[in-house]
Amino acid sequence: MLSYRRSRALGWLSTRRIVFFAFVMLTALVLRVMDVNPAVAQSRSVTAWKVAESPGLDPDSPIWDEITALTIPLTAQQVTAPVGGGTVPSVRVSAAHHDQTLYVNIEWTDTTLDDGSGAPEEFADAVAIQIPAEHGAAVPAVCMGQADGAVNIWQWRADRQHGLDQLGKGSDFVDLYPNTDELFYPAQRAGNALATPGAEVVQNLVASGFGTLEPASLGVVAGQGRHLDSQWRAVFARPFPAQDDFQPTFKAGVEFDVAFAVWDGRRADRDGQKSVSSFVRLKVSDKTAAQPTTGGSEGGSSTGWLIVLTAAILGFGAYAVFIFLIPKPAPSKEDAV
């Protein structure tokens, strides 16, 4: 009776073993190929290397060719209404600093260029960086911070970029409405920076919870974006010293937490309808980058294979536990028959 049961169980396990092992290996390989590794994301970091020349705001500055970007996975925002996003799987982030100014270059794939907000149904592509407002304090909630932990947000929007690019090229409105003024733009008159023409491309904002986003100091963060071959690239630049209480002071040799968000205008992404990352570490290095450098300290190819190996070992471990530690259920009468 015993030998019958045992041989039957082993037969079942040997088939399962192959399937299970294959599944583990396949999953690990897929994660590797897609460079998606949510579990390790928190421990990864972007290094802002010291560079000899300013990269400026040009997203295609040759300086960025010398720094390998770290790929950071994004997921749909599902914490608060309105939920959404999830169509942009990742951003590739590289960073540098020069002359006490931090530069961050974010690249992401978006096959459609949406840089208008002129129609009621038009929404612009956008990207944002979020940093805890107070450096060294407990890390606030990654979703817009919390009451006792504000976050500083820099948002670049394609429609604002487009609007600024068009400035000075003439506008129909000027000819059509020669006598209009601020009085007839209530949002502008109310001091809404979003409604003010000619304002900077990057909005410097602060939030301490859902629905609390407010403008912070103006003229603090510069930026520029471009869309080429289905790729957006946007560069942010901010001087190291903080201009107000709602942003951290950067310093070489210090690490900061940063998170990223991307909006796909074509999918009507706006507000909470966005693809978001969790916090990763931003290391402001006091070293000059070697040639070529890696932007992500754990972003090299060896890390990926390490993941494959770890997954495989974990898989075997789970299998071993399954085989030897979990007692088999007693056979039912039907089994014995």
């Binding site: 009621p120 149904e121 949002a187 109310a190």
Partner: protein, 410 residues
């Protein structure tokens, strides 16, 4: 999420916020039977508030021809379809109209825009109209359902259309307000007027998506959303003409057809109207029940009421104004002495009327309506301001003046 009472539905319903009790509620009654679609209201609003760059497609007040017209295109049909999709066959009423301020039209057993929403992507079921849908505000003007060769006769015309004048309903439970993730929309405690804070708005257009009446509108030149402000400076008495006294909004005051009666009503904590039969709006909505809310089933408890057009097929009107339609048309067609007198007060003054009285006059004639004889009296309707001072008095019988031919100077 809170449970609030919606008296137009005769039941409690789910809403994002606890109800607040405004000191008074902005409200109005539009008598559709009188509207000639002259668009004077539309232009009065346009020339006052929305004449600037980026507001070209923005008509806070509009008059559309039903059943085909709509601004934006087919706004009501689309929202009704969304609700029907969410609750197939379930959008029904139970009961008949009764005199009950908490449930005057029976009970709505279907789902409101809030109840049909998932609460994750949307606070209220809705859609975002595209630019082209805002571009023809008076499309299908004067289009009748058909032109019967034999003509038409009451009680229901075989071929029909009617004009629907619309502004923001300054709802008691606004969907725009519930949908704004930034809490940039608020309802004024003073008069219940719903406003968009132009400093906080970031142009996400969740309100445009959520408002079932589509009365919040995006302005690309400021990247924010704007809406009817209820001419609040006039309601506050800021217009120099009335020397500090509350005044009707521009669209109401400009109404050529005298279809509009505007006012501020007292409300209770549960959103119902305070019993006050001397208030002209309370009298029309609750005493006579001749004025009905527009699409009450949406659940926002809108505050613009309509006396339904008496020649239109009742099933269409019931869908638009709820189960009170038959009774409203019956009472409007054979008006009581008080109602007939009160109807003369529409557009008699630019100042807001807080109460009215009817002084009885002599019998001046008889009318036959539907085979029934109705006596007519030349009563006088008197409108009073907030402190009881007389603003205006109007007789039922309109005075006639004959101009001598010799003195014709025109």
């Amino acid at each position: 999420m809170a449970q609030v009472h919606n008296w137009q539905l005769g039941r409690d319903m789910r809403y994002r916020f606890e109800p607040g009790k405004p000191e008074r509620q902005f409200a109005a009654v539009f008598n559709i039977n009188r509207c000639i679609a002259c668009q004077t209201c539309t232009m009065a609003c346009k020339s006052t508030w929305t004449h600037s760059p980026g507001q070209e497609l923005m008509w806070w007040n509009n008059v559309e021809t039903k059943p085909y017209g709509g601004y934006p295109d087919h706004w009501d049909v689309k929202t009704l379809a969304l609700l029907d999709e969410a609750n197939p066959g379930g959008q029904v009423w139970d009961g008949d109209p009764v005199e009950n301020v908490r449930a005057p039209y029976g009970r709505f057993d279907g789902q409101t825009v809030f109840e049909a929403a998932d609460g994750l992507t949307q606070e209220a079921v809705g859609y975002l109209p595209e630019e082209r849908e805002w571009k023809a505000p008076n499309r299908f003007e004067d289009h009748a359902t058909k032109f019967p060769a034999a003509g038409v006769s009451l009680p229901e015309h075989d071929g029909w259309f009617f004009y629907l004048a619309r502004i923001c309903n300054h709802c008691t439970y606004p969907a725009c307000l519930a949908a704004c993730p930034r809490n940039a929309i608020y309802k004024r405690p003073k008069d219940g007027i719903v406003l968009v804070d132009q400093e906080r708005c970031r142009g996400y257009r969740k309100c445009v998506e959520a408002c079932p009446y589509k009365k919040t509108m995006y302005r690309p030149t400021t990247r924010t959303t704007e809406k009817c402000i209820g001419c609040y400076p006039r309601v506050e008495g800021e217009d120099p003409l009335t020397q500090g006294l509350p005044m009707e909004p521009r669209c109401m005051a400009a109404c050529v057809g005298k279809i509009r009666m505007h006012g501020l009503v007292n409300v209770e904590a549960d959103g119902t109207w305070t019993n006050d039969p001397t208030h002209p709006l309370y009298y029309l909505v609750h005493e006579e029940q001749v004025a009905l809310p527009l699409y009450p089933q949406f659940g926002t408890q809108p505050n613009i009421y309509y006396i339904p057009p008496r020649w239109v097929p009742r099933d269409y009107l019931r869908q638009m104004f709820g189960p009170g339609v038959d009774q409203a048309i019956e009472r409007y067609t054979r008006p009581s002495r008080t109602l007939l007198a009160l109807l003369q007060l529409f557009r008699a003054s630019q100042r807001i009327i807080y109460s009215f009285d009817v002084e009885e006059g002599p019998k001046v004639g008889e009318l036959v309506v539907g085979g029934e004889v109705i006596e007519m009296f030349n009563d006088t309707a008197v409108g009073f301001d907030e402190s009881g001072g007389e603003i205006v008095r109007v007789d039922v019988e309109e005075p006639i003046f004959e101009r001598p031919g010799k003195l014709n100077s025109i």
